[in-house]
């Protein structure tokens, strides 16, 4: 018994030591391989990336084969998956952090970027930028025919039905804010910054200029005059792609997704009435409302900040609180739970939420084209 125990103790000690050795070994081999890869970067800058005249198809195929296409996931991935399938690739992608470090260190060759945000960080050399300048090019989802509509304005069907005047007034004042912001992007950027956004002034100005393009150009590249317009073709394309690429494990939700039509996700009547109203509405059912943004406070949402600071909301009799997003309680959940009244989300997220059992309705489409691109480095 005694010797037995002794043996066990020794064994324990041995296992311990072995574990330590393994740890040391793995960390050593880790640092070794890192040295190798940094050497590799130095040696192959000549042809490691893509030729500046390479076709989108060849780039997508190459990056997909290497497993180096990146996206953030969490409902932002469908356009990328649609593009991958378009070129006959598997729809698997790497999880990209919300910074561009992965693209910078080459763990991602073809990285997702929003034209107004990450693309600017990659190219520009202001603080926080990666200073690539002309060293990068990108693939545009609109040009590839896989565009899905993004930032919209939505609420629950219940709220819209019970508070029609509030809904119309909110749409009206918001779009007025967008109109002013697009006419004066620099001032709009300044307003967002003053409202407490921590995005640097330079990047904010870049963002405002890029967002203006998304609000005033449609997926085909033609100009849009009526802000907030819900274009039938683009909406239908979004819904079709959503049905194809949103994968739901819940069979009830998955079959509901396939039955959804445009009428289940949007209602154009409020926008129409708002446009015809000339700023006069009947008695507002609710005068104090909250709107949750899809992301952090930045010029992506300049229309709301402008409407607030220019007093457009006040003019129609509304007191508005802007709730920044970016957390894991999504805007769909926040609106559905009644914690906020309106939300800004991507159309695909609204479709997924309704398939899952929510009753949300889009009342205006702010961005008229997809702002998502896949950015890649080119050989010098």
């Amino acid at each position: 018994m005694k010797t037995n125990k002794n043996k066990m103790m020794k064994l324990c000690a041995l296992v311990l030591v072995a574990a330590m050795v393994v740890m040391v070994f793995t960390s050593c081999s880790g640092s070794k391989s890192s040295e190798a890869s940094t050497d590799g970067t130095a040696a192959t800058t000549a042809g490691k990336y893509y030729a500046s005249d390479a076709t989108a198809e060849s780039i997508v195929k190459d990056a997909a084969a290497k497993g180096k296409v990146g996206n953030w996931g969490l409902g932002n991935e469908y356009e990328i998956q649609a593009l991958l399938s378009k070129f006959g690739q598997d729809t698997k992608y790497l999880s990209q952090a919300f910074d561009m470090n992965g693209f910078d260190d080459d763990s991602i060759l073809l990285a997702s970027a929003m034209t107004y945000n990450e693309l600017g960080l990659v190219k520009n050399s202001y603080k926080g930028g990666y200073k690539y300048g002309d060293g990068v090019k990108y693939i545009d989802m609109n040009e590839q025919g896989v565009a899905m509509l993004e930032d919209n304005l939505f609420t629950t069907k219940k709220f819209a039905t019970e508070n029609p005047n509030t809904t119309k007034a909110f749409i009206y004042a918001t779009l007025k804010g967008w109109e002013y912001a697009c006419a004066n992007p620099e001032e709009a950027a300044e307003i967002v910054y003053k409202s407490g956004s921590s995005v640097s002034t330079e990047h904010q100005a870049y963002m405002a200029a890029e967002v203006k393009k998304l609000v005033e150009t449609d997926t085909t590249g033609s100009a849009v005059k009526n802000y907030g317009n819900m274009d039938e073709t683009a909406m239908q394309q979004t819904l079709d792609l959503a049905k194809k690429y949103i994968k739901l494990s819940d069979s009830t939700a998955a079959s509901k997704l396939q039955t959804l039509t445009l009428n289940d996700i949007r209602d154009t009547s409020y926008l129409k009435d708002a446009a015809a109203s000339a700023g006069k509405f009947g008695k507002l059912e609710k005068t104090s409302v909250k709107v949750q943004l899809k992301w952090l406070p930045q010029a992506q949402f300049m229309g709301y900040y402008v409407a607030l600071s220019k007093g457009y909301y006040k003019d129609v009799g509304l007191t508005v609180t802007i709730v920044p997003g970016g957390g894991d309680i999504g805007e769909t959940t926040a609106v559905n739970s009644g914690q906020v009244d309106f939300g800004v989300t991507w159309v695909s997220n609204l479709i997924a939420a309704n398939a899952g059992g929510m009753n949300l309705v889009e009342v205006a489409q702010v961005f008229q084209r997809s702002g998502l691109v896949l950015v890649y480095k080119i050989n010098k």
């Binding site: 790497l94 494990s249 009830t252 939700a253 929510m358």
Partner: protein
């Protein structure tokens, strides 16, 4: 006498299994009949009914097991590495009590840094460890779990090595036992209950930190990641299916721990009494 005591324990252990099971059954019934929803003031959308949750688990067994495997590997790997490292640190601290104890105080400060801050740092630091994204994100996740498990173990192991029964050290010395003998015959057995105390904290902590580190990982896999993706996409029923799975992993690992503790410590207890 002995037999009677044994029987008493069995009866005791039967009720301690039965009571929670009964309570659980009541909760499930209240849940399924939606009485629970009325009490909490919520709806079947945010808190889906059990039958729907279990249907989803049944429908997606393959995918779920793949995610479970990834999570279990990370949490167990981190638990083993962290506990081994913690035990070793405790040992070093015992050998050099003065410097060691101070070191442990500093190490315990790591507990004050939130996982959500540690996970992204380690993610970036381990980028060069492997060409394969799955492998390197596994390493990053395991390291996060390792850090959370090291602290609890090192402090408990140190106490286990040093807080000996009164006079036991003098007794060993009077037998002219050398340091190694004292270590293996006295300190190591003495540390065992403390090791289990640490593990009781570390096992749940390892799972929680594995789940959270998955949120930030580069490669999309794991139960925690699925919970997050589904919550953000407003797929609550699916998210709940994964939450149930996460709880199941925790319960199973904890039961294994209790079982191991029962076997290992039972044989030891009488021996201490004789010391």
């Amino acid at each position: 006498m002995n037999k009677k005591k044994h029987r008493k324990i069995t009866k005791d252990s039967v009720t301690s299994v039965l009571y929670p099971l009964l309570f659980g059954a009541v909760i499930v019934v209240l849940w399924q009949t939606q009485i629970l929803h009325k009490i909490l003031g919520t709806d079947t959308f945010v808190l889906p009914l059990p039958d729907r949750i279990f249907t989803i688990i049944g429908d997606n067994m393959g995918a779920i097991m793949e995610n479970v495997k990834a999570t279990v590997i990370v949490s167990l790997g981190g638990l083993i590495l962290g506990s081994a490292l913690g035990y070793l640190l405790g040992m070093i601290a015992m050998a050099f009590p003065k410097w060691g104890a101070g070191g442990l105080t500093v190490v315990s400060a790591f507990n004050a840094v939130p996982i959500i801050a540690i996970a992204p740092i380690l993610n970036n630091l381990t980028k060069d460890f492997s060409e394969d994204a799955n492998t390197r994100s596994m390493i990053a996740k395991t390291l996060v779990v390792t850090i959370t498990c090291t602290v609890a173990m090192s402090i408990n192991a140190f106490r286990g090595f040093t807080e000996l029964k009164p006079f036991s050290l003098d007794l060993m010395k009077s037998y002219a036992a050398n340091k190694a003998t004292i270590f293996f015959k006295l300190r190591v057995p003495n540390s065992l209950p403390y090791v289990f105390t640490a593990l009781r904290v570390s096992v749940p902590a390892s799972i929680i930190s594995a789940l959270v580190s998955e949120y930030f990982a580069e490669y999309i896999i794991g139960v925690g990641r699925q919970i997050r993706e589904n919550i953000v996409l407003a797929q609550y029923a699916t998210a709940w299916a994964y939450i149930v799975v996460a709880c199941a992993i925790g319960i199973v690992l904890y039961l294994i721990l209790l079982f191991a503790e029962g076997i290992l410590l039972k044989n030891r207890r009488p021996r201490w009494k004789s010391v």
